[in-house]
C-alpha cells in the first residue's frame, strides 16, 4: 500500500526503501509537488504581507528544517509524541506476591510513564524488536533485569527487602473490544 510519505523531505534512498518498485518515481513526484506547494505558499505569503519583512518566517523555517534533519537532540525535536496510534499499548506496574498493585509513587520518584521509557530505552540498547508483544520471554528477562539493575529509579530498601513482580499488560482492540494479556517479566520472589 502506498503510505502518503511523498511530501516529506525523505531522500531518494529512503523512498527506494519505502517503495522498492517505484521509489524513484514517487521521489520525483514528491519534489515536483513540493515545488508547486512552495509557489502557492509564497504567493499567499506575499499576498498577506503588506510590506516585505524577511524575519516573518526565517526562524520558523530554519527551526523546522533543522529539527527534521537533526531529530531528537535538544533543543531540536520532531515532536514524535502520539505521531501514530498502533493497535497495542503496554502498561507497566509493580505488584506484590499476591498480585496486589504497589503504587509506584510509594517506592519510586518515577511514574509508570517514565518506567515505560526505561523499558523502551533498554529494548533500544539491546536492539530488540518490540511491539504487539513480540518480545519473547528470554528478551523480557533481559529487559526486566536491566530495569531492576538501574536502581536509581527504585527505593533501595524496597528493592532489597521486598518480594515484588514487575508486570507488563499488553492491551489491544479486537472485535470483542479491549483485550489484555498480562506478563510478569521480573520476579524478585524467586
Amino acid at each position: 500500500m502506498l503510505i502518503p510519505r511523498w511530501w516529506t523531505i525523505g531522500s531518494l534512498s529512503e523512498f527506494n526503501t519505502w517503495y522498492p518498485e517505484f521509489g524513484s518515481l514517487v521521489w520525483v513526484f514528491k519534489n515536483l509537488a513540493l515545488l508547486a506547494l512552495s509557489f502557492i505558499f509564497l504567493y499567499f505569503f506575499f499576498l498577506f504581507r503588506k510590506k516585505p519583512n524577511n524575519a516573518v518566517f526565517d526562524i520558523f523555517i530554519t527551526f523546522v528544517i533543522l529539527s527534521w534533519i537533526i531529530g531528537e537532540q535538544h533543543p531540536f525535536s520532531r515532536i514524535p509524541m502520539y505521531h501514530s496510534f498502533p493497535n497495542y499499548a503496554y502498561v507497566f506496574s509493580l505488584s506484590d506476591k499476591n498480585d496486589r498493585l504497589i503504587p509506584l509513587q510509594n517506592v519510586s520518584p518515577l511514574g509508570a510513564a517514565e518506567l515505560s521509557h526505561l523499558y523502551y530505552t533498554s529494548l533500544y540498547n539491546h536492539e530488540i524488536l518490540y511491539g504487539y508483544a513480540r518480545e519473547d520471554s528470554f528478551n523480557l528477562g533481559i529487559i526486566g533485569a536491566d530495569m531492576i539493575n538501574n536502581t536509581t529509579w527504585i527505593n533501595p530498601n524496597f528493592l532489597a527487602d521486598s518480594c515484588f513482580h514487575l508486570n507488563r499488560q499488553y492491551f489491544f482492540v479486537s472485535d470483542k473490544g479491549f483485550e489484555v494479556i498480562n506478563k510478569v517479566f521480573y520476579d524478585s520472589c524467586n
Partner: protein, 289 residues
Amino acid sequence: MIPVIKQYFLNRGEAKENWTLIKLILSVYWLLLIFRLLYNPLILSDPKGFCYLFNCELFLVEGIRIFLLFIALLSSALYVLEKKMILSLTIISIISVIVFSLDASNGIGNIINLSSSIFIAQLIAYIIYAVSKKKEHLVKNRIHFPMQIIAAHYMLAALSKLHNSGFSWFLADEGFALQVKKSLLLEYTTSGDQSLLAKAEWLPNLILEHPHMTHFFLLGALLLEFSTFIVLLKNELKVSYGWLLLLMHLGIYYFMEISYFPVYLVLFFVNISFFIQLPKRLLNKKISH
C-alpha cells in the same frame, strides 16, 4: 464589556508592559525548572543534545551544578532588568541547552521543553538589533521570534503525525482509545487512585462507541497544529489561536492525564497583561461613557 473582549481577541492594544511581564514569568519558570532538573538524580544512560557532542560527566559534580545555578540566577536578573541582553541571553541559552540535554540524556524520556529555543530566538532578535540599531525591529522581533519557535513546534508535531501515519492519522479511533486507556492506567499504576481505574474503563469505551466524534476532534487538533504558522502572518489571530491551543492541551490533559502546562502559549500568544489591565480598561470605558 463586549468591545473590550473583541479588542482582546483581535489582539489590539497590546500593552508595552507585556514584555517585562513575559521576561519575569519566563525567568522564574525557567529557574524553577532548571533547579528541579539539576537536583533530580542525574544519569547519562542515553546522551542527547549537548551531552551527545560533549562529555557531560562534569555536570554530575555538585559544585559545578551549584555554580551553574548561581550563574543562571545572575543572568536571569540581568535579563529581567534588560541589562547586557546579549551577554545574559547567551549565558541563559547555553545553560538551558546543557541542563535540558542532561535531562534528555537520562533514558527516561520527557516532554519536549521549548525554553532553550525560546531564549536563543530572543538572543537572535537582540543580535539583529545590535547590528541594525532599529528599535522598532527589536520590539517586534523579541516577541515574534519566540512565536515562530512555538509555531514551528506545532508544525513539527503535525508533520511527524503525517509522516508516520499519513493523512489517515485522525481516523485511528481504536488506536487513540488504546492510548487513552494506557495513559490513564499508567497514572493509576503510579498513584493507585481507583477513580483513574474507573475512568480507564468508561472513557476508552466511549471513544470506541463514537468514532465520528473522535475523528472530528483528532482532525481538529491536527489542523490546528498544522495551521498555527498563520499567526505569524495575521497578528489578529494570535490570541484566538492561543486559546484554541490551550483548549487542545486541556483536552489532552482530560483524556490522557498528561499534565503539561504550555507556559509559552500563555506568555506569547494569550496576552496575559490584558487581564492585569482589565480593571483599568473597564474603568476607563465607564468614565468615557
